[in-house]
Amino acid sequence: MTTTTAATDTDTALMAHLLRRAGFGATRNQIDHYLEKGYEATVEELLNPEYGEPEDQDLLDRYFIASTEARSVGHADPQWSWRMATSPKQLEEKIALFWHSLLAVGGIKLDHGMEMLTEIDLFRRVGLGKFRTLLLEISRNPGMMYWLDNQNSHKDAPNENYGRELLELFSMGIDQNGEGAYTEDDVKAAARAFTGWASKPTMPPFFLGPFPMEFRFDPEDHDERDKTLLGETGNWNGDDAVNIIVQQPATAEFISRRLYQFFVADEPDQQEVRKLADVFTENDGEIRAVLRAIFNSEHFKSEEIRFRKVKSPAELVYGTARLTDRFDLPDMDTSQLANYAMFMGQHLLNPPSVEGWHEGEEWIDSGALVERINFASSQLERTDAPGVEQMLERVRSAGDSLSPREYVNACLDAMGAIQLSDRTMNILTEHAAGQSIHQDQRNRATEMFQLIASTPDYQYC
C-alpha cells in the first residue's frame, strides 16, 4: 500500500471512507459528529433513511418554478442537484444515482423531465429495499416502458427490447464473452410476458407543460399462452417474470457485483462478490442487507480498497460542493452544479444509453480533467463559504510550527481526512517547503487546498 496515512487517527480515516462511499463525502466537522455516533450506528443511519418529501421542497419549487413542472431534463436539473448537494440522507441519493445508471432511462428519448424525477424518487423510495419490489416497480414505470419501446410490444408481435434488457442489463447480466445464464428463448418468453404493458397516451408536453405519465396494462394485448422462462412454464405475466428472474443465482451475482463496483472498487474482487451474492440470496434480495454486509466487512474497512474508485462527475461535484457547505438556500449556483457534472461527461437524468455510464477510469479524459480541476479549485477559493472557513480554521489551529509535511497533512485532514499517494505527497511537501509568496496564512492554506483538489489522487474516492 502506497498511501501515506495523513489522519493518524485510523477511525477518522475509516469514517471518512465510509461517508465518501455511502454518500458524497463529509466535512471534517461532520466526520467528528459521526465518530461520536460510532461506525456501525452510522452505517445503520445511512441504511435507514426515512423516505418522504423533504421540508425544503416548497423552497425548491418556489425558486425553480420551471423545475416543478419540468418539461425537459434541462428544466429538471435543480431538483436533484439540490438534493445531492444538501440532503442529510446521503445514501438515499447515492443509491438513486446507482440505480439511475443501472436501470437507465435516457432522458432525451423520453423528453419528460418530470417523469425522470419521478424515477429518481422511485429509486429513493424502494432502492434500498427488496430487488424484487424495485424491478416490479421499474417494469410498471411508464417512462421505462416508453424508453424501451414496450408500447410497441403486442400479443401477436412482441417487441423484445424490454425483455432483453431486463435480463441482460437489469438482472442477470452477461460475461465477457457476451454469454448470459439465459437463452434467446428466455428473452422471447420475457418479452411475451410483458406484452400489453405500456405507458398510457399522455398529453403533448410542448403546449401546456407536462402531465404525469401513467402505466397501463391492456389485458386484450397480453399474450395469455404458456411461456417457458428460465425453465419454468406457465401463463406468465410481467410480475411472474420478475419473480422468476430475481430468484436466479445469476441475478444475485450480477447485482452484487454492480453494488461492489459502485460502493467498493472499480475492479471487482470475485470472492467478495460471491459472499455478497449469498447475502443477497439469504435476505430475499434486500439491497440494504447487501450494503450492510459491504460496509461492515473487513474488506471494505481495509486500506487496500481506499481510493480504488474513480469519482464519477457527480461524486466529484457534489462531494466538493458539500465540502464548501455553502448551499443553504436554492439559488442559481445550485442548478449550475449539474451543468459542471455535464461538462465533465455525466449529464444527470440523461444517461447516454440503456447501459448507463461506464464507470471507472473511462470518466477521465483530458477535457473532463480540465473541468474537474477548475471546478474543484474554484469552489475551494470561496473562503466565505462556511465549509472552507472551517477548513481554514482547522489548519490554523494545527499550529504555526508545522513541518511542510505536517502542513500538507493538516490540509488533507481539514478537507475531510483524505489521503495521497507517496509520490504526490512528496511533491506537495516540496511545494509547501518552497518559498511561498503568501504571507497570509489563509491564502497559503487555500492554495494548498486547491492543489490537493487538482491532484490525480483527488479523482479517486
Binding site: 502506497t2 498511501t3 425537459s72 431534463v73 435516457g106 432522458g107 432525451i108 428519448k109 423528453d111 410542448f206 481510493f307 480504488r308 474513480v310 451543468n339 455535464m342 461538462f343 461527461g345 440523461n350 447516454p352 444509453s353 440503456v354 447501459e355 461506464h358 477510469e361 473511462e362 477521465i364 479524459d365 483530458s366 477535457g367 480533467l369 480540465v370 473541468e371 480541476i373 477548475n374 479549485s377 474554484s378 477559493e381 473562503t383 499517494s421 509520490r423 504526490t424 511533491i427 506537495l428 516540496e430 511545494h431 518552497g434 509568496i437 503568501h438 497570509d440 491564502n443 487555500t446 492554495e447 486547491q450 492543489l451 487538482s454 491532484t455 490525480p456 489522487d457 479523482q459 479517486y460
Partner: protein
C-alpha cells in the same frame, strides 16, 4: 480505418462544423418565393419583396443572408435542400442526438465526429485533434478513448484561468505539472490518469498559445459570439497544432415567437461571421483544405403559428469551401398537402449521405467504418480537383 485525414494532395484537411441549434426554419432560410402555397401557409411569417434575395427563379435566401449570397455566387457554397432522416423526431434533444450519432433508429452514445477523430488519430497521440468551441462536449464528438478539448475562449483556456482569488496561478501550475508525469505507479493514481493529465497540460499550452502565432487583417465582430468562435478556429488552424475537427454552434434558432426579428438577427450573425472566416481562411492559406459544414437538428412547420413556427422536420444544410462544388443540390421539397409529412416538408436527402461525402471525399476517412454502413457520397458536391 486506415486513414489519416489527409487529402489527396497530402495536405491535412480541416472540417469546421457550425451547428445551428434549436431548429433552423428552412422555409425562411431558403425561401420558395415563387410558390403561392408558401404564402398561404405563412400569412404572417412569409418573406417576399425585399425580404428575399433570389438565387434563381424558384428560391431565394433570406435577406439577412447577404454574405451567403456572395459565397454562393462565387461557387463555393453547396445548399443541400430537404435534408433529413426517416421518421423524424421533433424533440430538440432526440433529433440533435440523431444528427450527432448518425443513428436515426436507436439511441447511441457514439458521436460520428468522435469516431472520425479516432480514425484520424487512433492512439490519441494529439490531445487537440478535435477541438470544440463551447462548454461541454456535444455528443457528436463523444467516442471511447477520444479526448476533445472544449474551449470557451482560447486566451483563457486551461487550468485555473477562472480563479478570482489570491492564488498564484504559476505556482499552482508548476506543481501540478510535476505531479502529472507518466511515471510507473502502483495503481493509485493510475498511469492512465497521469498520462491523461500530461496530455491535458500539453494540450492547454498548445491551445492557449495559438492566438500568439496568429495575425490577420480580418476583423471579427466582437459582439457576435459565432464570429468569435470562428476566429478561435482560425487561430488554432493557423497555429498548425494538428487539429482536424473544429466544432462550433450558434443559436437559439427555436423561433416559436417573434421569429421575424429573432431569425433575422441570427442569420445576420451567422452569415457575417462565416464571410469573415472565409476571408480569413484565404489569408491563412487554409482555404483549399477546409470544408465548413452547417446543419440544424430539424426544420420547422410549414404553417406558421402567428408569431413564429413550431418544431418540424426536413431542413437545409450548407457545405462551404474551395473543395466544394457550389450551387443548389437536390429538389426543394413540395409544399403540396399531398406531399407533406404531418405538416412538414418531406426530406429527400439522407443526412448520412452528406456525412459520407465529408468523410470519403474531403477527410479521406472510411465512411463505412464511421457510419457502420455504406451510404452514397454525393460526388456531385466535390469540385473537380485543379
Amino acid at each position: 480505418m486506415a486513414s489519416n485525414g489527409n487529402g489527396s494532395n497530402g495536405r491535412a484537411k480541416n472540417l469546421v462544423v457550425i451547428q445551428l441549434s434549436g431548429g433552423n426554419d428552412y422555409l425562411n432560410t431558403v425561401v420558395p418565393y415563387q410558390d403561392g402555397l408558401y404564402y398561404d401557409y405563412r400569412p404572417v411569417m412569409g418573406l417576399s419583396g425585399n425580404k428575399v434575395i433570389p438565387l434563381d427563379e424558384r428560391v431565394a435566401f433570406n435577406s439577412h443572408m447577404g454574405p451567403f449570397k456572395r459565397l454562393f455566387d462565387a461557387g463555393k457554397m453547396a445548399v443541400i435542400m430537404g435534408i433529413g432522416y426517416p421518421e423524424p423526431n421533433r424533440s430538440h434533444f432526440r433529433s440533435m442526438d440523431i444528427w450527432h450519432t448518425a443513428e436515426p433508429e436507436i439511441a447511441s452514445s457514439e458521436g460520428w465526429l468522435g469516431k472520425t477523430t479516432k480514425a484520424i488519430d487512433p492512439e490519441g497521440k494529439n490531445p487537440v485533434t478535435a477541438v470544440n468551441f463551447g462548454r461541454g462536449l456535444p455528443r457528436a464528438l463523444a467516442y471511447p478513448g477520444v479526448s476533445v478539448a472544449s474551449v470557451g475562449a482560447l486566451e483563457s483556456y486551461g487550468l485555473y484561468t477562472g480563479l478570482a482569488g489570491a492564488s498564484n496561478r504559476d505556482a499552482l501550475l508548476d506543481t501540478v505539472s510535476r505531479i502529472y508525469q507518466p511515471m510507473s505507479q502502483e495503481g493509485f493514481p493510475s498511469l492512465q490518469i497521469l498520462q491523461t493529465g500530461r496530455g491535458m497540460l500539453d494540450g492547454a499550452d498548445l491551445l492557449r498559445s495559438a492566438p500568439d502565432a496568429y495575425s490577420s487583417n480580418v476583423e471579427y465582430n466582437a459582439d457576435n459570439p459565432i464570429a468569435q468562435s470562428l476566429k478561435g478556429v482560425a487561430q488554432v488552424m493557423s497555429a498548425d497544432l494538428g487539429t482536424r475537427i473544429f466544432y462550433t454552434q450558434h443559436g437559439s434558432f427555436d423561433t416559436h415567437t417573434n421569429e421575424l426579428v429573432n431569425h433575422a438577427k441570427l442569420w445576420d450573425e451567422v452569415s457575417e461571421a462565416v464571410e469573415c472566416f472565409w476571408a480569413d481562411l484565404a489569408e491563412q492559406g487554409q482555404a483549399d483544405d477546409t470544408v465548413i459544414w452547417m446543419f440544424s437538428e430539424f426544420g420547422r412547420r410549414i404553417e406558421d403559428n402567428g408569431a413564429g413556427t413550431d418544431h418540424g422536420s426536413g431542413g437545409v444544410a450548407f457545405m462551404i469551401g474551395n473543395p466544394v462544388k457550389g450551387g443548389l443540390h437536390g429538389e426543394y421539397p413540395s409544399l403540396d398537402p399531398a406531399d407533406q409529412l404531418e405538416g412538414d416538408v418531406h426530406y429527400n436527402t439522407d443526412y448520412r449521405d452528406a456525412y459520407a461525402t465529408i468523410l470519403d471525399e474531403f477527410l479521406h476517412v472510411d465512411s463505412e467504418w464511421v457510419l457502420k454502413k455504406k451510404f452514397n457520397p454525393m460526388t456531385e458536391l466535390v469540385a473537380s480537383r485543379a
